[in-house]
């Protein structure tokens, strides 16, 4: 699975993107976020308050119950501030 991080999520996690092998029990966005939190202090800090984390799967906004698979591109980022 390809993971992308933007803005302060990237700064806290320390990288902008990575390829990961997710465990079989990770089936949806909520499961992915819970697993990521366990990967280190930077992840735990970045994902401490999920109210300020938005998720896109294959470049479309999704909710926590959206399924994720090994071929997906999943992006995590704060609420957007363009314009």
């Amino acid at each position: 699975m390809r993971l992308l991080y933007f803005a302060w999520l990237r700064a806290k996690i320390g990288i902008g993107h990575e390829e990961v092998e997710v465990p079989d029990h990770v089936r949806d966005v909520a499961g992915l976020l819970a697993w990521l939190k366990s990967r280190g202090p930077g992840y735990a800090e970045a994902l401490a308050d999920l109210r300020v984390v938005r998720t896109a799967v294959n470049q479309a906004y999704v909710k926590p119950d959206h399924p994720v698979g090994r071929d997906d591109e999943v992006a995590l980022f704060p609420p957007v501030t363009g314009g």
């Binding site: 933007f6 803005a7 302060w8 470049q59 906004y61 980022f77 704060p78 957007v80 501030t81 314009g83």
Partner: protein
């Protein structure tokens, strides 16, 4: 129907002239230009750095443009959004909408900038005297975008 995400500045006059050239059915052209302010609240800002999610940005802006065309009879639309480091007074964004009549052009332009601010994946980092800080999304922007869920134009 044009979308551009780029670091370079744009010339609003030249862009608007190009947008309507050769389309004599257009009776109204409305544009919004967003600029970098020198204050965030009461904090002076030296510069902004805008980053985005290449690919998703263009896709989201394309969906917004398509939705505007479903809601209003439009003859031309243009969205230009800059990325990278910008200073106070610099242009950030141009949204332009042309239609036979002004009502559709005004409404669609407002719709596009309101939804762009809450859906297009851009993020601003401000440079202040206390160091860099990420801009936090505003509840007012969500409210402005939600307004359009109740209004179909």
């Amino acid at each position: 129907m044009t979308i551009r995400v780029e670091a370079a500045d744009f010339d609003p006059g030249a862009e608007l002239a190009a947008l309507t050239r050769g389309k004599p059915g257009i009776g109204g052209l409305v544009s919004f230009v967003g600029l970098v302010r020198d204050l965030a609240g009461e904090t002076p800002i030296a510069a902004l750095t805008l980053e985005h999610y290449p690919g998703m940005t263009e896709r989201q802006l394309g969906e917004l443009e398509a939705e505007a065309n479903r809601r209003w009879p439009l003859d031309a639309t243009l969205i230009i959004h800059r990325v990278g480091r910008l200073e106070p007074g610099d242009r950030i964004v141009l949204v332009a909408v042309a239609s036979a009549h002004r009502d559709a052009a005004f409404d669609a332009c407002r719709f596009l900038i309101d939804w762009l601010k809450t859906r297009a994946p851009f993020w601003k980092m401000e440079e202040t005297s206390d160091g860099p800080r990420w801009v936090v999304a505003r509840a007012e922007d969500d409210a402005a975008a939600a307004h359009w869920l109740e209004h179909t134009g």
